[in-house]
Symmetry: D2
């Protein structure tokens, strides 16, 4: 399968990774949109949006115009914008996620797997990121707490240029179980986006998460 | 529920932990058997064997005599002795495992959870134990490789008095996922034996693993 | 060298470890003092105090009576009691420390070793202890910050029965350096006390830290 | 201080990092040499060589021609080539190292700091690198064993795209001390080269290691 894809946010750091990974996979970038405007060389099979909420209107226009699936990882969307996403999903497949890492999905699944058995164990979550990350805790740490389904302390460390380490430790009075994810390259997220874009082809309309993509990828 | 239990291997290090944990739970040791012979003070509801293959005949005698369930963690049993265990399991519940740690079971389940999604990722297993552990790799590391279902390098480290650390790391070109279990006390294994002994009560004949005990304990 | 030693706080958890370790080394417990009173069987060569501030007066009496060195790890002493300790040290060797672990001393020395070279690196300190430890951060974490000589965030985790893990990580934009100490047994502190008690023999009066003991032990 | 520098191996991955880091520091690349030949735009104050042994003759020519210091990190030099390096060092400063990471130097110094105190402790070294690294163990792991001054097992793990993690753990029967270095970017080595190039200015002839550079940088 070769895809012709449109990319909103092509000038950003994630945009460049997406182009690199999609090109390696043999897909063709036929539509780019960023702060400098549009570059159009063909009709896209799928729209990918990793940009800012300000570009959301352009994304919606493209999806409506071409009637093709949307993969969107843009953060900071408003509730109104999410309503529009849901609307689009009655017409085409829409895949929305804040984290397109396969490993983070696996971390969350491990938490789901063990939590019914470790109800009485202590739990601590730690997230470590580069010194430039201002917000605490990370969104992924909150996803971990959500998967755990109960309160847990989260420690946030800020160190050098660490791309992102997330750790959860369970402990009884005789043993500990630790599950840790570490991102070693931004490329990993682009690979999850690739998996998602390929997933959309031949799918009916619907609102999908990256979890659905992973489930289908076994 | 209060159990009257028999313990084969009562003088060993695990035997002493089992007595401590069972007593705390309100159970009563009515039969002890070790290198110094038998101490009998009542009729057991369950037999627990953490001893050596040489004591296996005594264990079989007790199970036959009292027609009560058996929980056995003795290592080094021969194939013939396993055949006898299977025979006993047609009459009473028999629970056999090499590792009664809840956390190790969780580690194995995490491996089962993620393996279908991480087929192309690299894998490394590491096990670290005290300097007195002669055999390499540990039995638990082999259980991990077995759960993984494919070949993986195992590194064995021997350090001080570390009770036991088992680690598995999966890695793609952009991320790593690590799952690690650490035993901080021998007590943890005794707690798994307790869970197993309690599990047997009211069960029909059958050959069970510690996994079955965990499944029932949710 | 065989020592006859007196032990203040003999009934406590550290007291029992000290007796075990000192006895293994061939030393003889000739004086015990705890909440139940005194047991005297000889004249001590050294007094060891791991008790509570309330027993401090008894300790001072023994040191004055026998004119022998003192090794003291009791926490919570008042400023007045420290003045008394300093006074005693003009007559006999006094060794005072809050942490008799050789490994913690090594951790502190590594911090001293690297800090002049890593002035612009980020730093994070983490300490993990059992769920029963109420105070945060640990005294050892504060010693680490003190050795570092500048402000650093300290994250405190409380998990199961972990005896104590202390970690410091330095990070630039291209690398990280982590130094971590983990206590696997209370015994380790008793071994530091043993080293200290042996260090006192033949020493002149003075106020010593465990660092001095370590320096002399190379 | 602004340097005009020459770079042998400018087309390689390290070469590109060096250009980026030197340019950020305000230095000017006036001489490049790689497989495509020479590009000359001025007279260098220092020659940097991160290439292959095959380019060594060109490097020697440049150093002789301009009588300027040399910083060399090229691996695989023959004994004869090292003799030539020593010769050059009677005329200009020559800095040779296999690892220009400040953090690795700190790791080695921590080993030096603790080793006289931990003679009886167990030791294990672990090195983890990306799947493409064929040789085992890594050169840095050997430097660690050398700093330790005694035999120690080295475990080598190969995982994903990990840039390089080196760990040494010391353990007694009651505690462990772990020192770990992790490279998060190739940039870190280029920064060590920068430090070395700046170190050479105003120095007399001599054969220096990266350790000398670090010592001078406090």
């Amino acid at each position: 399968m070769t895809l012709q894809y449109g990319l909103i946010g092509s000038a950003g750091r994630m945009g460049k990774e997406i182009v690199a990974v999609f090109n390696e996979a043999g897909h063709e970038n036929v539509l780019s949109y960023d702060i400098n405007g549009e570059q159009l060389q063909g009709v896209p099979d799928v729209i990918v949006d990793f940009s800012l909420p300000a570009a959301f209107a352009a994304t919606v226009n493209y999806v409506n115009k071409y009637k093709v699936p949307l993969v969107i990882g843009t953060t900071g969307l408003s509730e109104e914008q999410f309503v529009v996403l849901k609307d689009l999903s009655t017409m085409v497949p829409v895949i929305q996620s804040y984290n397109f890492s396969i490993g983070v999905q696996m971390l969350l699944r491990c938490i789901e797997t063990v939590k019914p058995h470790l109800k009485n164990w202590d739990v601590e979550i730690t997230e470590t990121h580069h010194r430039f990350k201002k917000d605490k805790p990370s969104g992924t740490a909150l996803m971990m707490k959500n998967a755990l389904g109960k309160e847990a302390p989260i420690s946030s460390l800020r160190l050098g240029n660490i791309a992102g380490i997330h750790t959860i430790t369970f402990a009884s009075l005789g043993e500990t179980l630790t599950i840790e994810h570490s991102a070693t390259s931004r490329r990993t997220f682009a690979e999850g986006v690739l998996l998602s874009a390929e997933f959309t082809q031949g799918k009916g309309p619907g609102y999908y998460s990256f979890t659905d993509v992973i489930d289908a990828a076994i």
